[in-house]
């Protein structure tokens, strides 16, 4: 038996480990210090590591993300927390035009070893402007890596791998996962890679391909499908850029049917990219048109019943899987 731990605590443990291990590592962001982080991830770290390494910043994403990139260029290993992906749009220029491109623009002279963490996703009745899922946008940009830890293990293990990477790494933490509890083995922290997708449940009839907060809805849908006699395999992308085509295609070739579940809107989405790659690489292995479950193309509503209706939900995933199965059930 391992020890019981929350997703939030796993992230905090990873931060403490990084801060202890490398004096170049520091954490900066809005309310990360005295308040302990908007999602309480950094609670207690100010007391332990002091204001030099746990730095509260002004309300300017453009400013402090840019400062983090500068610190990385200067030899530090900054971890920048942006409160949510919604506010990261204010920092798109430093992230995309600077962090992602400096290695190229400098002819390989500069690398930007910055890690930027942020919460993403909807489902908490916080209104349209706080409920976006833009991780797919960042996954469009060459020069950065985009991670989506969905499990306790990945929450605990991905940060050190991200800090070890010489280029910018973005970590998207779905806001509904912070209270998730699970077990970690005692002893040394789990070692995870930031290259590969992962099969979270094995199946043989349909691949359900998802990431982040949608993983648990998808796993529940797989349970319901099993009761209907459909064996669903659940693929957790984990790394949104670069995508692990090999794992995706192996699963699709085995099941011959696929449904992509993505909380972002469908048009021009990461779901669309995954489907396009399947069509390019595994077309002749398909036994049905590809399916997907995305959010309705509306600003995510505030009202609970409407918000729930707008997002991917277990019954929608089950229905999409049944649709690609046809009468084979």
């Amino acid at each position: 038996m391992g020890r019981r731990i929350s997703y939030r605590e796993a992230l905090r443990e990873a931060l403490r480990e990084a801060l202890q291990a490398d004096p170049r590592v520091f954490l900066m962001g809005e309310d990360v210090g005295r308040y302990g982080g908007t999602y309480a991830v950094s609670k207690g770290l100010l007391d332990e590591f002091g204001p030099e390494r746990i730095r509260d910043t002004p309300l300017s994403e453009l400013g402090f993300v840019g400062a983090g990139i500068g610190a990385a260029l200067g030899g530090m290993r900054p971890i920048v927390e942006v409160m949510t992906v919604n506010f990261s749009l204010l920092a798109l220029d430093p992230i995309v035009n600077t962090a992602a491109m400096l290695r190229h623009m400098s002819g390989g002279q500069f690398s930007v070893p910055v890690v930027i963490r942020m919460a993403t996703g909807a489902g908490r009745q916080v209104g349209a402007q706080h409920s976006n899922s833009f991780e797919g946008w960042y996954a469009h940009v060459p020069g950065i890596k985009v991670l989506a830890p969905a499990t306790i293990e990945d929450a605990r293990g991905m940060l050190s791998a991200a800090l070890a990477d010489p280029d910018p790494v973005l970590i998207f933490e779905h806001a509904q996962l912070y209270n998730l509890e699970g077990e970690l083995p005692e002893g040394a922290p789990p070692v995870v890679d930031i290259r590969s997708a992962c099969i979270r449940r094995e199946g043989s009839d349909v691949s359900l391909i998802t990431h982040g907060g949608s993983l648990y809805k998808t796993l529940r849908a797989a349970d319901e499908l099993a009761a209907l006699g459909i064996s669903a395999e659940v693929v957790d992308l984990r790394v949104l850029r670069p995508l692990d085509d090999a794992t995706i295609m192996a699963s699709v070739r085995k099941c011959r049917r696929a449904v992509v579940v993505d909380e972002a809107w469908r048009s021009g989405s990461l779901a669309a990219e995954v489907m396009a790659r399947i069509a390019e690489q595994a077309f002749f292995d398909l036994d049905a048109p590809l399916g997907r479950v995305c959010s309705e193309e509306v600003p995510i509503p505030y009202a609970r019943h409407m918000e729930e209706a707008a997002l991917p939900q277990v019954p929608k995933i089950v229905a999409a899987a049944q649709a690609v199965m046809g009468n084979n059930t």
């Binding site: 011959r256 049917r257 077309f283 002749f284 292995d285 398909l286 036994d287 049905a288 048109p289 649709a323 690609v324 199965m325 046809g326 009468n327 084979n328």
Partner: protein, 404 residues
Amino acid sequence: MIEFKLPSLGADMEEGKLLEWHVKPGDAVKRGQVVAVVDTSKAAVDVEIWEDGVMHAILVQPGETVPVGTVLATVLAPGEAAPVVSAPVAVVAVAPVAAAIKAGPSAVVVSPVTRRPAVSPSARRRAKELGVDAENLHGTGAQGAVTLADVEAAAARQGGAVAQGLPIDRQQAMRRAIAAAMGRSKREIPHYYLSETIPMANALAWLQRRNAELPITERILPAVLQLKAVAMALKRVPQLNGFYRDDAFQPVAAVHAGVAISLRGGGLVAPALHDVAVKPLEQLMRELADLVKRARAGSLRSSEMSDPTITITNLGDQGVETVFGVIYPPQVALVGFGSVAVRPWVEGGELCARPLMIATLAADHRVTDGHLGAVFLTELRDLLQQPDSLASSSAVSGQGGKEK
């Protein structure tokens, strides 16, 4: 409007798979032009069109397998206008009318959309491997599509090699086609057989003299002389040249000799060498070489596949003395040639050694009797004693037009 249908490219052909169109709607086509490529179980065949006109609508798309007689495309006869395509009212705006009139009828051609049956990509690939006709299965998949499981279930029902997942390739398909045609022949055609030993000294000497003056590429093979002799002998006995259809013999004026060509890797085709009676030997030689090359490359034309009026097979090269042929329906005769070999022969009461060849006739007893068959073989023998007459006979009457 002319309907361009999938022709029967041989008596054993029931369906064909359209591989490629060489024309598109709006293209002008001429009689005899190759417009499409169709895969039969034997070969990929260039299909010709037999009317002048303008391609109107393509009704069968590459990859589709359709029965013989299916309308592949519609063709506008010369001068014919494209039919007006009635469009939904909402689409007919006022402004574009003038432009449409200016553009003329050819700009308004709309091909009807033919949607092939839904077969999933993996099912389609597996069906090909298993030799299953996936498009005619009942689909259980998404949107009613035929799935991999449907194909494998169908293959299991078909049993045998298919159930074990052995791929059915073209050679097996060809084997089946030959089996069907030859089975039908032996079931339906009451064969009779005659044979005649033919002295070949004159013919060989004549060929040797003639070829001595020619570069290698223009030299004539004995096979061409045989073909020509058969065609000329058929002028004497036309009852052996044509088809038996609907309980009656249909004679054909021109001799389109089906030349049996064994394919590398197995199998057999007998495409037509057209109008053998009226073509000079040099031309026949060129055309025969071309025919053999194209048969082995798998690029025969539809007319060559569908209209041989008699089959000629020569197994002499393999050292076989006598060929007892099986008639290729609906033809009514097959002429077989064995090897040319020096054997004992009696001439003027003396025993001597002479190059000899045994020619055989397999003929359909519903059409001819042994007497006519004997007349044919003796005429064939005599003609081969006078090779000069074969060389000069090319100008002989008979327009040899194509029957269609």
